[in-house]
């Protein structure tokens, strides 16, 4: 069971490595969206400092969502997904492994790049660890919830845009807690409470989302 999960993660990472361009595109999207806001709003440092956590988190949400439609599409097209469904290992474990691989490819780089954008927004450097930690805790939740939407919209007309409609409202708590943790830390009150709540969301989504993803995959493939 664990072997199956590990081999799925390894296979997805290898596939992502073979198509590095796709990963780079999502990351570039994150950076470009975050760079557009000062152009639209103006480069007043106090204003930028105030909106930085929210902007970075919204950009992370959108970037993580963009790569979701690719999560199951290729496996669906070449029949791999059918074989996975027929295989002996539980579908929930496979679904969790797919979501984990998506996080490593689409979530982890965001946490690594975010301090760079925070620098552009003139955020105090003491806040970088909080920002990175909130992204580290929050982006796996995005991958887990997003995978449910990706599985439901598999092979559906207008899947990509529909996926955003399904998934974005469910992302709201992660956005509020993620951006809130940085806000609280910058107000000098410490963001621990929000980070702990994010961790709770992470645990809950890891426990429940794989079964929902598995059920969604069965519905889409029958």
């Amino acid at each position: 069971m664990v072997d199956a999960a590990i081999s799925i993660v390894r296979r997805d990472l290898l596939l992502a490595w073979r198509r590095r361009g796709d990963v780079a595109t999502a990351l570039l999207f994150f950076i470009i969206v975050a760079s557009l806001f000062p152009l639209g709003i103006g480069a007043e440092p106090n204003l930028l400092r105030a909106i930085a956590p929210g902007v970075i988190w919204v950009a992370a949400l959108l970037s993580s969502m963009l790569s979701l439609s690719r999560l199951f599409a290729a496996d669906h097209a070449d029949g791999t997904l059918e074989q996975l469904l027929l295989g002996a290992s539980p579908l929930g474990v496979i679904a969790a492994a797919k979501a984990a691989a998506h996080w490593i490819v689409a979530g982890l780089p965001l946490a690594a790049v975010a301090p760079l954008i925070a620098l552009q927004y003139d955020l105090p450097s003491a806040l970088y660890p909080v920002l990175a930690l909130s992204l580290l805790l929050g982006t796996p939740v995005l991958s887990m919830i997003g995978a449910i939407g990706a599985a439901l919209t598999l092979g559906v007309r207008g899947g990509g845009i529909l996926l955003s409609l399904l998934v974005l409202p469910l992302y709201v708590p992660v956005l509020i807690l993620g951006a809130g943790s940085v806000d609280m830390a910058s107000a000098g009150m410490g963001g621990e409470g929000q980070l702990l709540l994010l961790a709770a969301l992470l645990v809950a989504s890891c426990a429940f989302a794989p079964w929902a993803i598995a059920a969604a995959l069965r519905i889409s493939m029958e």
Binding site: I145, I148, L152, T153, V156, R157, G158, G159, L162, L165, L166, L168, P169, L170, V172, P173, I176, L177, G180, D183, M184, L201, F208, A212, A215, A216, I219, S220, E222
Partner: protein, 231 residues
Amino acid sequence: MNWFWYASPQTFYPLAGRIALGCGIAAALLAAAGLYVGFFVAPTDAQQGEVYRVIYIHVPAAWMSMFIYVVMACWAALGLAFNTRLSGMMATALAPTGALFTFIALWTGSLWGRPTWGTYWVWDARLTSELILLFLYLGFIALQAAIDDPRRADRAGALLAIVGAVNIPIIHYSVVWWNTLHQGASVSMAKAPTVAAQMLTGMLLMALAFWAYSIAVTMVRVRCIIREREA
């Protein structure tokens, strides 16, 4: 009594017609009584004047918008558990009414907010939660509309409704917390003033009218779906 007797669309179809007729008449009578009490019997509010009378539409619509989502998720869970065709149809039939009431609650709320708060929209916790609820309804409707196979549409929608129902409390409390952090122009309505008896009567009559209306239109809609699919 065999509860599964009416689980078949064929046996449910005539029953749905009778329920729709009965509830339709009840809705018309209750709404007439409720609006009469609301507009002519209930006293003018001491602080808000006549503006407050929008609550006879607004509050019952807000109640229904949340309640219908719960009912929808229950039908969805029933459908997934027992694999009954009718459950999915009921969830599909409920969604537009739920979305309509959510929209009415937001619309009347902003009409009330303009003279009372001085603005059509504030990022109040309730307003924001209601807006996200509207997005959840629209996502459900859009997902079902995008899938051609009705069985798959039912099951996919059912899963989405259940995921949404699990998430609604989390979304609501995160929004409430966010609202207390960003204390903006919002007005606290937590301590509602004591309501006059006639006001309460009008509101309850309207709530019952909305209940009856929801059941009636859902039954009409489910009859249409049965005809489309089973013909």
